[in-house]
């Protein structure tokens, strides 16, 4: 049993239940005046668009150098992966793992996860509603951690600034990467999780 089936719209902000008025296109919350929808309009479309954007940006984010470490006049720009490899080579495997997970695995997982989610919502396949919600929660949860790398870069740029001796500057890759992270988060927000259950065969699949 879905709210939409009972003709009830829930306010997204104050969670007031409003009876659906089929006459109107745009209904407002009786309590707080926010727009209420049965489902977020064009949720899938927007998510797709954002997903696509982040997917496109994902390519330069990984290929372009994310930052340049200038040490005694010698600059060596490094991409995310090169940085991870370098860390591994220096034996800092835990840090490498963190960076790798936060910067490589998580965005990739997010991109793939959202894509899978959208695909399964649209095509009713191949995931069950339960799998989808787990996926959705996971994506929501890990999304913020992807910014770890950006924070590291931001801190490093700010802290390591000794002029000619050593300095770190962010490159376009960081911009792209940050965009990827932000846009995937937006994509996760844009996605209306209620859609997960719309296309399922039974409401209580998960029950």
């Amino acid at each position: 049993m879905r709210a939409i089936d009972a003709g009830i719209l829930i306010c997204g902000e104050c969670h007031e239940l409003n009876r659906q008025d089929p006459e109107t296109d745009e209904q407002t919350c009786t309590r707080c005046g926010a727009l209420v929808h049965a489902r977020r309009p064009n949720s899938l479309m927007r998510t797709w668009a954002l997903l696509l954007t982040s997917a496109i940006l994902y390519i330069p984010a990984n290929l372009l150098p994310i930052m340049t470490v200038n040490s005694l006049g010698q600059g060596s720009p490094s991409t995310i992966m090169a940085g991870v490899i370098e860390l591994v080579q220096h034996g800092m495997i835990p840090i490498a793992a963190v960076v790798f997970i936060a910067s490589i695995l998580v965005p990739t997982f997010k991109l793939v996860g959202i894509a899978l989610l959208l695909f399964s919502v649209q095509r009713h396949q191949p995931l069950s509603a339960r799998q989808r919600i787990i996926m959705y929660r996971f994506i929501e949860f890990i999304g913020r951690w992807s910014m770890l790398d950006i924070f590291v870069i931001a801190i490093l740029v700010a802290v390591v600034n000794f002029g000619r001796i050593a300095s770190i500057e962010a490159n376009l890759g960081a911009v792209a990467f940050a965009s990827v992270v932000v846009i995937t988060m937006l994509a996760a927000v844009t996605f209306d999780p209620r859609l997960i259950w719309d296309n399922t065969e039974s409401d209580d699949d998960h029950e």
Partner: protein, 767 residues
């Protein structure tokens, strides 16, 4: 449910604003992608002999300090005899135009050596590959150089070649200094083709290119040069950098400020050090005396200033001489010509003084006297055995003295004027005929005008001991110095007597007296030289008027030649008509004369000619004293007598018993029937003799014996009684006659007539 309103259908919007986002992302991604693509470099292959220090993905290619590429991979090169490493380098796209066949690559590694530290930056940044673009066809495969290539000649600036004997501590990149400012560097060095020198290529920055002139001298400024000697310690270094790294400095000599710009094709010489560069002209000198000379130490001095040094000394195979290689100050360049003289100065202590005293302290040195500027340049000389006489060009008076023997004179003996040293003996040598010595003398400039044509020089050496019966003994010496060392003194009697020649010639007399003799040298021929010797005086009326200087046999051995000098009134004596004779002691019954010559020695008497008939310096002495009448002043008369009686030379002629003249001689008349008696009346009394005068012989005493008169004894005087004599009387009035002419002949009566005795004419006497 027909009343149900028909659902409003809106055309479904296929387009949503959200799709702008992926588009923007696409655009950004596309731009990034295109940029990445456009920045994608060009892969080239560079072959290295060794991959040491090259790290894939790390080692950069740097051009002018700017990364232009990066080594991507390294691979072994199996081709070729020596296996190398091929580095695949991704070069920036914008340097594509520089990737030509002649472009050179080399690995820059840190290199720390005494010569300097290069590639210091690679210590932290890692090695890098440097690239020097060049021309040629586009290429993608290159062979790396083993080391940095020298600076290309195309770089603006001055590219020079220096030739050096040794490289020293110079290295590539060693600085070139001008006034301790670095103005360039050493590009490279190679052995010359004949492997005898090192050719060093030097680059001078364009700003300083005009500092290098044709006469510029380069020297190796590496390290510190310490020159310690008695005159102090000299420490010289170009800069701290050059001490460690080595370097070259250059300068243009002061006297070559107008030197033309250099021709870059001509190599310069690189001198070993500053001093060598300053004393740059190489000269070879053959030395016969090379005692105490040290290569590298012995200086070449000119007037006490060092103008060069001895660089090398090689003893010749025969061990008697050595050839020395000198380097001289460039200042001397113009003077290294024919006539330039070298000699070795060493301390010498002699009575003439200490010479080369400074050599005692400093060690022997080589002295140079420059030749005349403008003569043929020469670089090989033969040293003189001893110091040459003073340069004729030096200020002061140069002159030549002739002498018979040197005495104790030596080079350096002083020339004294009033016992002040005004010059010195510079040299002596035999004259061309080997009979005389020629002494070169220099009078200092300030005393130059003390010497003129009338100056007389004498040897003031030693002590002059002159003594005589009359003057006592005199000891004379110029000064203690000249007593020991010998010396020459001079005096200038006349203030104004200009010198004849530029280099005057004088006679050097043995002593002052000889020198100060003035007058004229004459030669007198005598038959015998009995009692005549050097120093025998020539007298006139008892006064010394001259002296015999030498007594020699004449060439035909028939006579003796006396060389004499007339010092008093020579113009009156040395003239035609003068007569000389030897005065000897005569002791006899008839006559005793000149007894003083027994003690003082014989002498020559001279009777100067009364008239000026021209100069004459060669005389023949008379056998005996001539008739005085001829020559003596006064009225000379001839008396004709039957007999000589007791008349002889010198007996008085009296007038009124006053002696007014004398007999100067007698002779037989031409026909031997008469005796001609020559008398001379003193000029004062000459007017007394008149044509009417009567002369009578007053010798002895006449005794008139008569019966009536008794005996009358007449005599003029006691003197005439003994000696004999002639008297005369002149009548008064008309009979007096005219004044007697010289050589007029009168009869000489044996006795007077009484009448004559009473004649008393008034005749004024001459003055």
């Amino acid at each position: 449910m027909s009343d149900l309103p028909t659902a409003k259908t809106r055309p479904a919007s296929n387009w949503s604003a959200i799709w702008i986002l992926p588009l923007i992302a696409l655009v950004i991604g596309g731009w990034l992608g295109w940029r990445a693509y456009s920045e994608t470099g060009i892969d080239i292959q560079v072959r290295f002999e060794s991959g040491e220090g090259i790290v894939a993905n790390k080692t950069e290619v740097v051009y002018k300090g700017m990364p232009v590429g990066k080594v991507k991979t390294l691979a072994l090169d199996e081709d070729g005899p020596s296996k190398g490493v091929i580095a695949t380098v991704e070069m920036d796209k914008d340097v594509q135009q520089y990737l030509k066949t002649n472009t050179r690559f080399w690995l820059v590694k840190p290199s720390v050596s005494l010569a300097g530290i290069t590639g210091l930056e690679t210590l932290v940044s890692g090695n890098y590959i440097a690239v020097s673009p060049s021309d040629g066809e586009p290429a993608r495969k290159f062979k790396a150089l083993s080391q940095e290539p020298p600076l290309a000649d195309s770089v603006p600036g001055l590219h020079l070649t220096l030739k050096a004997d040794r490289l020293g501590s110079l290295n590539r990149g060693s600085p070139v200094f001008y006034k301790q400012i670095q103005v360039g560097q050493i590009k490279s060095y190679v052995l010359s083709e004949d492997q005898s020198t090192v050719e060093i290529k030097v680059f001078i920055e364009p700003t300083y290119a005009n500092l290098v002139r044709k006469h510029t001298r380069f020297w190796n400024a590496s390290g510190i040069s310490i020159d310690a000697n008695l005159s102090g310690v000299k420490l010289r270094s170009e800069s701290l950098a050059s001490i460690v790294a080595g370097g070259i400095a250059f300068a243009t000599p002061e006297n070559r400020k107008d030197s033309p710009p250099t021709d870059t094709n001509l190599p310069f010489r690189l001198y070993e050090d500053f001093d060598a560069a300053q004393a740059g002209i190489k000269v070879k000198v053959k030395l016969s005396d090379f005692e105490g000379l040290q290569a590298g130490r012995t200086p070449v001095m000119y007037k006490g200033i060092q103008v060069g040094s001895l660089k090398g000394l090689k003893v010749d195979p025969d061990l008697t001489s050595a050839s020395a290689e000198l380097t001289l100050d460039p200042l001397a360049e113009d003077y290294l010509v024919q006539g330039t003289q070298f000699w070795v100065v060493k301390p010498s202590i002699s009575l003439a003084g200490i010479t080369g005293l400074e050599a005692l302290v400093k060690g022997n040195y080589i002295a140079i006297r420059p030749g005349d500027k403008g003569s043929t340049p020469e670089r090989e000389f033969v040293a003189r055995p001893k110091a040459p006489p003073l340069d004729l060009r030096s200020p002061g008076l140069h002159m030549v003295l002739f002498t018979e023997n040197l005495g104790s004179l030596d080079v350096g003996s002083p020339i004294l004027y009033k016992q002040v040293k005004v010059g010195s003996v510079q040299s002596y040598q035999f004259s061309r005929t080997k009979k005389q010595l020629v002494i070169g003398v220099h009078i200092e400039k300030e005393y130059e005008n003390l010497v003129n044509a009338s100056t007389r020089f004498w040897n003031a050496s030693g002590i002059t001991l002159s003594g005589g019966l009359t003057g006592g003994i005199q000891v004379k010496s110029e000064s203690l110095q000249s007593l020991m060392a010998g010396g020459i003194a001079f005096e200038t009697p006349e203030a104004k007597a200009p010198l004849q020649k530029r280099i005057p010639r004088f006679r050097l007399f043995t002593d002052r007296d000889a020198a100060m003799q003035q007058g004229v040298a004459v030669t007198i021929k005598v038959a015998r030289a009995d009692g005549l010797r050097e120093g025998t005086p020539i007298r006139f009326k008892g006064l010394d008027v001259g002296k015999i200087e030498s007594v020699d046999l004449s060439e035909d051995l028939q006579s003796v030649l006396l060389k004499a000098r007339i010092t008093e009134v020579p113009e009156r004596i040395a003239r035609v008509g003068s007569q000389f004779w030897v005065v000897k002691p005569e002791l006899g019954l008839m006559k005793t004369a000149n007894l003083e010559t027994l003690v003082t020695g014989q002498y020559l008497e001279v009777q100067p000619a009364s008239k000026q008939l021209g100069r004459q310096t060669s005389f023949v002495a008379l056998e005996q004293a001539p008739d005085a009448a001829v020559s003596q002043a006064g009225l000379s008369l001839v008396l004709s007598a039957a007999r000589r009686g007791s008349l002889k030379e010198g007996v008085p002629v009296t007038y009124r018993e006053v002696t007014v003249g004398k007999v100067t001689g007698y002779e037989l008349g031409n026909t031997a029937d008469r005796v001609l008696v020559h008398i001379l009346i003193e000029p004062r009394y000459a007017p007394l003799v008149r044509s009417g005068s009567r002369f009578w012989n007053t010798s002895g005493f006449g005794v008139d014996f008569g019966l009536f008169k008794g005996a009358t004894i007449r005599t003029e005087s006691l003197e005439t009684l003994v000696q004999g004599g002639i008297a005369f009387a002149t009548p008064d009035g008309d009979k007096m006659g005219n004044q007697a002419r010289p050589e007029q002949t009168f009869p000489l009566f044996d006795k007077f007539e009484d009448e004559w005795l009473i004649w008393a004419p008034k005749i004024p006497l001459g003055k």
